[in-house]
């Protein structure tokens, strides 16, 4: 048996706040970072959508997170805050495809292109994010860029498909499909 028993496990039932949106926490984070009291847990996108997970921080703090169902863990969330430590959730960047429209296409072509691109991505069950006129969706490897270039080959005069590595946060409502 390889069972490891950690007697110092800390139960977490809710997120304290987020350093990106709470200025008080951000200040606290800066102070504690300077004095080397900040720890982090690394969270993938799929893990970020979970309400229950056990994670060990980079400094060995053992955290058992069990929140209300439907809760998410976002980048910058403060998971634990004591006088001695602040534990922050850090999202791991992932491979994505980035589709952008080429500049010189007509309104009619934009409509057709947008619908076909949306249809193709939806057919592959991918969540999407749209920012600055670019469509992002997760891929596992570079070879999937070739796949999407093939699937969208009749639109290749209208669009560019490239790979990128980013913290991908899906548009809400476009992460999973419900009926």
């Amino acid at each position: 048996m390889t069972r490891v028993i950690c007697k110092t496990m800390i139960l977490i039932d809710k997120i304290i706040g987020n350093i990106n949106s709470d200025s008080h926490l951000k200040e606290k984070y800066r102070d504690m970072f300077k004095s080397d009291h900040v720890e982090k847990i690394e969270i993938t996108r799929l893990e970020s959508e979970r309400a229950r997970i056990r994670k060990i921080s980079n400094k060995g703090t053992d955290l058992a997170i069990a929140m209300t169902r439907g809760s998410h863990i976002n980048d910058g969330d403060v998971v634990l805050l004591t006088d001695e430590k602040m534990v922050i959730a850090k999202r791991v960047p992932e491979n994505v495809a980035k589709i952008s429209l080429k500049g010189n296409i007509s309104a009619e072509q934009i409509l057709e292109t947008a619908i076909k691109v949306g249809h193709t991505i939806g057919n592959m069950h991918r969540p999407i994010k749209i920012t600055n006129n670019k469509i992002y969706f997760p891929i596992q490897s570079e070879s999937e860029i070739e796949l999407f270039q093939k699937l969208l080959s009749n639109l290749i005069d209208n669009i560019d498909i490239k790979s990128d590595n980013i913290i991908f946060e899906p548009e809400s409502g476009y992460d999973i499909h419900g009926h």
């Binding site: 069972r3 229950r52 069990a66 596992q140 419900g178």
Partner: protein, 218 residues
Amino acid sequence: MSSNRIPRVGIGGPVGSGKTMLIEQIVPILSAKGYKAGIISNDVVSKEDADRMRQNLATEKGLVPEELVIGVATGGCPHTAVREDPSINLSVVEEMESKYNYLDLILIESGGDNITTTFSPALADYFIYIIDVTGGDKYPRKRGLGIENCDLLLINKIDIAPYVGADLKIMERDAKIVRNKKPTVFVNSKTGQGVDIVVSYIIRDLLFEASPKTLVNN
């Protein structure tokens, strides 16, 4: 709401990889430790797996009440019933949670599917993916959502590895590379070899080492 939620394990893997047999091995070990499990088994058109588990674990061994082994016939692509649209499974899980609050965990078996199976985080809190050696030792490095993203990867049928020319060392090495340090366990779900390790991961990473509810309450 959080008080009546029961931790859920999703078990996915290709057809014939050993999902049902794994559950038949896991439940007696959990049961001996006092943990009570409900079981939901997805199949495409039949309820064959659920019927078999009910016969084995409920009727013959008496480890689980018969009504706590539930078959779900998904129709179409079974992965969609646990990944994109888990609503059928969610309704069964939620009914189990409200009726049988004494359960320590719920095991959800996906219908046999391809390597892109994952469980929606809305459905499962912990994801086990099981493959076997018959696909050859190239299997882990070929990647796939299930292999890469699962919390625990199981490589089953290690007893026949020599006969199909699968090198377990290669599988272990490649699994480590594609899974970014997440654990992989070799099992033989026919004999139960390695299954105690699987159970210890479930108790540690899903149940957070909590004592069985019925023991605490008595």
